[in-house]
Symmetry: C2
Subunit: 349 residues, 2 copies
């Protein structure tokens, strides 16, 4: 049987500590050269909706130590509005199309089919958590959070899983949104999450700064850095080269070949969505896998400033968190069992 | 609804002319830079079976003129035996795992889920057919076929769709296999398909030579070339640089970036499976899309020798043939309707 799971299943079953544990195993194997990710590959063309593009996005990775591989794909109509990319819910029922398919590497069979929404935020959050575990001060108590969306929520779940956080101060431009976010995240994590009126107010005096916006504009500045501070970003545009150069330790999520996009002639893409302004040598930074494996050093003393660039997601993250969810779903008897024969064949392709 | 189709549906509904028509449209758009394919990307690791590897293979492509995109993936345990790659049927029921998912580029939704077996052979065959249409003599009557497997069958279907073939002479090393193959293909195409005892006997005097083996050894030699002959191969190892250099016109299926493999450290792959021995400048050859679009010339006179290297498959082929099958299945009321909600989500990933 192939297990069809839902975002609800993932929300209810999958915890941030599950994801952190699975990813730590995956990164340790990655550092040894055993886990691998396929190159991220996109195909981008026009679509019917004016000022929008169609994007087919493929990622994949395999973790031999867990015995699984996974494919993650997105089939999206995307508009660019006010320097933000907006995915359009045009599938029937006003829905989005993004899935993770988990495979057994011993039989090849599809073990589970899972929407990518919750897994996506959990793998991003868990990677930030692992970065902070090695780079932020162990006694960090206050977090400055810039952003109040889906990914910002995962950052709160992540950092409260690795550190005994007392207060999160959150800024995002829309007041109602940040207030609602703070209420929700306080309830969810039991940590005080406070809405503040500016990014500077959020980050001033914070032990840990987490940027989790969907903007392509800078939101954190080098003159805001304080001794001992750890800064994390999930989009390169959120900070600039001055921040990266000024901190004592910088680690990037993954250094490997950047994704490759095949783009129709008629399309002009907006500026690079993960570039860090003025930062050409990003490929020489140590990676999270090397940090986890102890190949590159983490924080050595309380006064150091550190930065984790949680950029360049890789396919094996979906194998790790997908497997963690699959095991919990099996144990809990959750999900819809589909005949595996639907997704396999008796002819050699 | 998302349509779940089977290899049986594809066998019964999809004809070689359907595939040729769909691919001609795709290649014409590709030549204009409108259709695009994602980079082929593999992730390869150890698996439980000794002397075997696990390979997750990802392809994708989008054809705006047809309004569709497609993902094709394979999740295979592969052994290498006697210089051949052997996919192992280890999924439940002794089955293989390979699927095509067809998407609407206007909504993003998954339109159909289709095993890749029949589509795979049809897209390879149809590409060979299109190559032969432009490169072989229009009055070609005899075909020399080397190979008697699944792909060889598609080559017979392909060449009999584009040319009024009188005789196919087929050689493959195992006598019983080639005899059974010839009987089956004669019945299927209505063309005389004869088993012969050597490759040389198959190709001598043939107007068209088609190599469709799964060997990584050379099967066609330059001294077998005759005036006016067209030679096609689906694996580079089947011929060598001497053949390619000697013929008057050579076209390669696709010139774009070769697929990228991420391979676990412990794995040593056998020799490049699509390389042409002694042929480093394959990237400068004209492509099938350019041939279809008239950007590169086809055969000019009856005495020319020509060669089509049907190598480097691209994702958009699966979008083309997948769409052709989907339309026919809709018209015929075939397939199992699955709720599209199973494969979509209401959170923005």
């Amino acid at each position: 049987m192939t297990l069809l799971l839902s975002n609800n299943d993932a929300e209810e079953l999958l915890t941030m500590p599950d994801c952190i544990a699975a990813l730590e195993k995956a990164y340790a194997e990655l550092a040894q050269g055993m886990s691998v990710s396929a190159v991220n590959s996109d195909a981008i063309t026009p679509t019917k909706t004016p000022d929008a593009i169609y994007q087919l996005k493929l990622m994949g990775g395999v973790i031999p130590g867990l015995g699984v591989g996974a494919l993650r794909f997105n089939s999206d109509v995307i508009a660019y509005r006010n320097k933000r990319q907006v995915k359009m819910a045009l599938a029937p029922g006003a829905r989005y199309t993004g899935l993770v398919i988990l495979f057994s590497i011993d039989t090849g069979e599809p073990l589970a089919i899972i929407p990518d929404g919750v897994l996506q935020r959990m793998r991003v959050g868990a990677a930030s958590a692992i970065g902070a575990k090695h780079l932020a001060r162990a006694d960090s108590r206050t977090v400055g959070l810039i952003g109040a969306g889906w990914q910002a929520g995962a950052q709160v779940m992540a950092i409260t899983a690795t550190h005994r956080i007392a207060t999160v101060r959150c800024y995002s431009p829309t007041r109602d949104k940040r207030v609602a976010f703070c209420r929700e995240m306080s309830e969810r994590t039991g940590v005080t999450v406070l809405a503040v009126d500016s990014a500077e107010e959020a980050v001033r005096g914070a032990d840990i700064v987490l940027c989790a916006t969907n903007t392509s504009q800078q939101v954190f500045f080098d003159h805001w850095l304080e001794p001992g501070m750890h800064v994390g970003t999930i989009r390169g545009a959120e900070l600039n080269a001055a921040v990266v150069k000024k901190v004592d330790i910088v680690v990037i999520h993954d250094r490997s070949l950047r994704g490759v996009s095949a783009v129709s002639k008629s399309i002009t893409l907006p500026e690079d969505r993960i570039a860090i302004a003025g930062m050409p040598d990003i490929d020489r930074l140590p990676s999270l896998a090397e940090l986890v494996a102890g190949i590159t050093p983490g924080r050595a003393h309380a006064g150091q400033t550190t930065c984790f660039l949680n950029l360049r997601g890789i396919g094996l993250q979906f194998a790790a968190v997908g497997d963690a969810l699959y095991r919990k779903a099996l144990a809990a008897g959750r999900g819809r069992e589909l005949p595996t024969d639907w997704f396999t064949e008796d002819v050699v392709p």
